[in-house]
């Protein structure tokens, strides 16, 4: 395929930029990267088109070459293109260098095994240090910009791979003193120095002469990747000299420098700072952040080196420079800034935060800096906005909010004012003036006045409520502020009920200090003023939020009066929402009447159904259940009928939900007593539940159906008596019981859970015969023995004995059923098997390892069970 024309590329690039993901998913996406690289060498395309192709590769390498091998291949191709350029001036060299660097760094291909990296790095260093690279590198006129570009490329590579240039520190220092562009060199040196310090500190090594080593790998030699490999695991922030933000994770304290190294380091930093004036303001700021971070926590490196720069920096209006000074302040605190310096810095910040020559975004940022000022001795908790101690009310005078300010400016200043009011309260106790508070009240009144304007933009209302929220949050403990605010807001509602959604939002977000009294006055406001028709919708919306158990009759009266005017579906729904709120609040009698009336009189069938549903709920559910059933539901509003939406809410609350078992059941020791077998169940409670009902189902209907067991309340950790479950076997056989639990959670939901099945063993069904009188025992047994035949059967088997012998075995398992005993060798045993079978055992002439058992039963079917049981006895011990 031949090279693409200029127009096609222009169109293709346009489509790509509009949505890269859509383009890459399309038919041309796959080959875009390849075409781009090949067309860069096409002689038919003009330089500007090629520059635009390179611009694309600078922005979207991840889309063009999505993995490391592709990025490596692309970088190689870009480097080849660069080398092949004819030696005349060309606009392509610079973007080619940038593109190769971007492809390697962004594609994750940069490393010692990458051929492109091994080519690019010496090339960049050669260009940067002004070495003659031969005629292929273009005319002399291009050397300057290429040199600066090469430095920038190296800095970017060092940023992405810290330690990459650690071996070149000495060379960089040497070059800084000679000719060459000072800015890129200073920034690269500062960055590489900082990275080297951090990496060496982590490895607990010194600088190891890095600062003085003069040589650096050139094209022939190999690049020193050692530091970069070590630094690789920890990409280092370039600027977090902010103690709070970084969590005190400054690791430089472990760095041990020899006096020689410390001197070299100091000299290098001083050299950089001295030349910093030659850098652009933004670059100066970068340098200060880097050096501040490099020296912080480093022993024996006093920050006074920065001092000569500070006055110059404080005088400017540059955002970056003041910000960098604040970073130094945060990094070094009192070591660099005395209390007087701190006061001066605050003064300059205050001044900058309101200076008419600066733009609004800068004002706002300075205000933010003031409220987060890194004080030498902060009083409040870290991370919370506060007015610095040295920022007195005199300094703040110019920072008071006024209605003429932009909303963001107003809110930022209002926050400051609130903080002053907090301090003011402390002063007030000492009897000083209270002007900030009065100022605040007037401002809020002004905001409300503007919000009350009918037809004004919503932003004005929003601002008023934001301000109220801010005040309520900052001054929650000051009734002197909150009381007028509450009444002012009530007046605002009276003037413009259409703001109801804002009021509801405010009530949802403020604490009870404002929320509770505001609720009360707003309710009064609504119910005492029937309102004109257009306000009714808002009144109902408001009431749905503020109605509760108080002032029931007034609320119900209002609703009754309103019902007649609720003619459309929306209003009826709003009305029903209020009813719902009242239902939740537990309002009873009067509400039932209202709901009944609504169920008859509302025009809309949906509304009537709804009212009826509420009435039924009110009549049938207890209060706590009602509260849960009507609780906030996440269900999306349904379009067709509000009942559907309502039902989605109920579904969670009223329907029984499947849940993991809240208890664990196990079968306890066998009780051989009474007329019928009783299963003893041990209960282990895992979570708190109420009204637990256990339901059992017998598999294969071997027993009669079992009744449910009820327990009112179960708490984990509280001891519980075992449950007794009477069994009525239809046949004497073991069975499995399926168990389900039905219960209520503390939050009021009804749940059910399947428990693991319980196994009823054959022996669990054994019951003793009534004991015959002493002396008649043998006769009683013989009588039973004889009665089994001919209907029943007789069998003999060998019962192995464990180490304990026959006596122990009988006493452990068969004691209740022994009729005649001649220990230790002979026992006659009679067992009743409900419903009406018997099992008779003769254990006689026991030997050391077992006993012969003669048995009779009147039920054929139990023979295999008996066999299994007896053989299992010795195993059970």
């Amino acid at each position: 395929m031949g090279p693409t024309s200029r127009e096609t590329w222009a169109q293709r690039l346009g489509t790509f930029r509009a949505s890269p993901s859509a383009f890459m998913a399309g038919p041309e996406g796959e080959d875009l990267g390849r075409h781009l690289l090949s067309d860069l060498r096409s002689e038919k395309l003009s330089e500007p088109t090629k520059v635009s192709l390179l611009a694309l590769s600078l922005e979207y390498p991840a889309q063009l070459w999505p993995d490391a091998p592709a990025a490596e291949a692309a970088a190689t191709s870009l480097l080849d293109t660069l080398v092949l350029l004819p030696p005349r001036p060309s606009a392509l060299r610079r973007p080619l260098l940038l593109a190769a660097t971007t492809a390697l760094a962004a594609g994750g291909a940069l490393g010692p095994t990458s051929g492109a990296s091994r080519r690019l790095l010496p090339l960049l260093l050669g260009l940067a240090s002004g070495r003659d690279l031969g005629r292929s590198f273009g005319p002399a006129s291009e050397q300057r910009p290429l040199q600066a570009t090469a430095w920038e490329c190296l800095r970017e590579l060092e940023s992405c791979k810290p330690g990459l240039l650690g071996g070149c520190l000495g060379l960089l220092r040497g070059l800084l003193g000679q000719e060459g562009p000072v800015q890129p060199l200073s920034l690269l040196l500062a960055l590489a120095l900082r990275n080297a310090l951090v990496i060496q500190a982590r490895a607990r090594l010194g600088l190891q002469g890095l600062l003085v080593a003069g040589d650096c790998p050139t094209e022939g030699g190999s690049w020193n990747w050692m530091l970069a490999e070590e630094g690789d695991a920890h990409l280092q922030p370039q600027a977090p000299s902010w103690p709070a933000a970084e969590g005190g994770e400054c690791c430089l304290a472990t760095l041990e420098l020899s006096p020689e190294e410390a001197r070299e380091l100091r000299a290098a930093v001083a050299q950089l700072l001295d030349a910093s004036y030659l850098l652009t303001p933004v670059a100066q700021a970068q340098l200060l952040w880097l050096l501040g971070w490099a020296l912080r926590g480093l022993r024996g490196q006093p920050p006074v080196l920065f001092k000569p720069q500070l006055v110059r920096l404080l005088g400017t209006a540059q955002l970056t420079l003041l910000h960098a000074v604040l970073a130094l302040k945060a990094a070094f605190g009192e070591a660099l800034f005395t209390a007087q310096d701190e006061a001066l810095l605050l003064r300059r910040l205050t001044l900058a935060a309101q200076h008419p020559a600066l733009p609004l975004p800068a004002h706002l940022f300075y205000l933010h800096c003031l409220l987060n000022f890194p004080e030498n001795w902060p009083l409040g908790p870290a991370g919370e906005e506060a007015a610095p101690l040295l920022l007195g009310s005199q300094l703040c005078r110019g920072l008071l909010p006024s209605l003429l300010h932009d909303p963001m400016d107003l809110l930022a200043r209002l926050h400051l004012l609130c903080l002053l009011c907090v301090e003011d309260e402390e002063k007030e106790k000492k009897g000083q003036d209270q002007s900030p508070r009065r100022y605040l009240e007037e401002l809020l009144a002004g905001l409300r006045q503007r919000a009350a304007l009918g037809g004004g933009p919503r932003a004005l209302a929003t601002l008023c409520f934001q301000a109220s929220y801010l005040v309520a949050r900052c001054l929650a403990g000051q009734p002197a502020v909150l009381t007028p605010l509450t009444h002012g807001l009530a007046q605002l509602y009276r003037a413009r009920p259409a703001l109801a959604p804002h009021f509801v939002d405010l009530l949802d977000r403020v604490g009870p200090e404002l929320g509770e009294p505001l609720k009360v006055v707003l309710r009064q406001e609504v119910v005492s003023r029937p309102g004109r028709d257009e306000a009714l919708r808002w009144h109902l919306q408001m009431l749905a939020r503020v109605a509760d158990g108080d002032a029931q009759s007034a609320t119900l009266g209002f609703l009754q009066a309103a019902a007649a005017r609720c003619t459309d579906w929306g209003l009826q729904q709003a009305l029903l929402q209020v009813c719902r709120a009242l239902l939740r609040a537990g309002v009873g009698g009067g509400l039932a009447d209202l709901l009944q009336a609504l169920a008859r009189q509302l025009e809309d069938p949906d509304g009537r159904d709804h009212a009826r549903l509420y009435y039924i709920l009110l009549a049938h559910l207890e209060e706590p259940k009602l509260g849960v059933a009507l609780g906030p539901s996440l269900a999306a509003p349904a379009l067709a009928s509000s009942l559907v939406a309502e039902n989605q809410g109920f579904a969670a609350a009223l329907m029984v939900q499947e849940a993991p078992a809240p208890i664990r059941l196990s079968v306890g020791p066998h009780r051989a007593k009474g007329p019928a077998p009783v299963l003893q169940l041990q209960v282990e409670v895992l979570e708190q539940v109420y009204s637990l009902e256990l339901r059992f189902r017998v598999e294969r209907q071997l027993y009669a159906p079992l009744g449910a067991v009820h327990m009112p309340c179960l708490c984990p950790g509280r001891p519980i008596r075992p449950l007794l479950l009477p069994l009525q076997p239809r046949r004497p056989a073991p069975a499995s019981l399926a168990v389900r639990a039905l219960y209520t959670t503390p939050s009021g939901l009804t749940c059910h859970a399947h428990l693991p099945p319980l196994l009823v063993n054959f022996a669990d069904l054994f019951l003793p015969f009534p004991q015959p009188p002493e002396g008649a025992k043998l006769g009683f047994f013989e009588e039973l023995w004889d009665s089994c035949l001919p209907k029943g059967t007789e069998s003999r088997l060998w019962c192995p004995l464990g180490s304990h012998g026959l006596e122990a075995l009988v006493s452990r398992h068969l004691e209740p059923f022994v009729v005649v005993a001649q220990p230790p060798t002979s026992y006659l045993i009679a067992i009743r098997l409900p419903p009406d079978s018997r099992l008779l055992l003769r254990l006689e002439a026991a030997q050391a390892d077992g006993v012969p058992v003669a048995l009779r039963t009147d039920d054929w079917a139990v023979l295999p069970l008996v066999g299994d049981y007896l053989r299992g006895l010795s195993a059970a011990g």
Binding site: R17, S19, A55, E59, A62, L98, T102, A105, A106, P145, E152, R155, E156, S159, C160, E179, G180, V182, Q183, L235, Q238, P240, W242, A244, A245, E246, Y277, T280, V282, A285, V311, L314, G315, A317, L319, T320, L322, A324, A327, L344, L351, H355, A357, L358, A362, L364, F365, H368, N372, L403, A412, H415, L453, G456, P457, Q466, S468, L470, P501, R509
Partner: protein, 472 residues
Amino acid sequence: MAQRAVWLISHEPGTPLCGTVRFSRRYPTVEKRAKVFNGASYVPVPEDGPFLKALLFELRLLDDDKDFSESRDSCSHINKTSIYALPVGGEELWPVVAFLKNGMIYACVPLVEQTLSPRPPLISISGISQGFELLFGVQGFLYSGQKNDSELNTKLIQLPDLLLQACPFGTLLDANLQNSLDSINFASVTHPQKQPTWKAGTYKGKPQVSISITEKVKSMQYDKQDIADTWQVIGVVTCKCDLEGSMPNVTISLSLPTNGSPLQDILVHPCVTSLDSAVLTSSSIDAADDSAFSGPYKFPLTPPLESFNLCYYTSQVPVPPILGFYQVKEEEVQLKITVNLKLHESVKNSFEFCEAHIPFYNRGPVTHVEYKVSFGQLEVFREKSLLIWIIGQKFPKSMEISLSGTVTFGAKSHEKQPFDQICIGGTAYLKLHFRILDYTLTGCYADQHSVQVFASGKPKISTCKLYRFKLT
């Protein structure tokens, strides 16, 4: 300190999207670092379309604010800085630095070199101020000398190349984009070592220094007991130093006459090498008294090639230059207005122009005006509901002039009638615009002796003063 992406978006109310992305630039190497630093809290930079939508919504620039929307209008959704969190694809992109200026939205996303949850304080993120500086730089470039849309478009076309120069990898090298443009042109000149980066080349030719002082006064006069009138002078000193040598040392001093008003709140250009502590601390925050530092204000500096703002200052002059009185009385459908203006005797009575704008808000168009002026003439802009009283070059000898009349308004017909949130009912204002050449209200001046140049050749020094005035 780097940026992950930059955007320029024109705000176009009334169109379906309400805006268009005019320029965007992403920095993939920075993005890669963001992924590592932010870890689990990393949110990728979205494509232009979704970004535009989310940003306009957050800045309240979409046309649909009719209904309450919780995500935008909630009282707890408070923004006190120009830094936003944008909901994009179910996650929040933060921090996004953005502001609207002259119908253009400037936005960028600075790199945060740590995890974003919890969010670190803004003050600890170096990329924030760098981002602001970049956006201010772009704004300065687009609007320097720009008069119309076609010039703006030309500059927008230059922008990608300029950013390739000034911010090739997302780390800003120079916020002065004009400087970058110059350095492209100066590229062939070899720099000596001690050449500042902010100076693209060296000047060859006749040495010359020009200084111009412009003062504006912002005054608000309420004529009310409980609200104090305010008037504040804001000054800017602009210099252009055409001097040979790579780093000529210059000291420029500003002086005041004996009864001049002290300069306060002085902010200087970064090329100023040192500052007197009296200059640094003189501030409008302090109560004014006689002990205030009154100059001369010395600024030692190494000038850049281009024209630059040496310093900004404010000052508190003892009286407002023109005292105004404005009364509005509502009489059924018409307003009765009375205006008196008095020029203070100390002010130079020679204007380039002087006019009073009298706007009427929240009303219909002006249908009829009857008036009487003691001086000058009145122009009526009916559709804009605006009267302009053109006073001219001079106040009369008495220094006092007056205007009285009645204005009748038609019915409020369409949305185009000016709306104002403050000028409701009888609340109204009058705004004075004027300019006086070769005069400063503070008295601040620079002359032949104010400039010391430590370089070869004696420069020609020209100074000028300009006084602009806005009174409401």
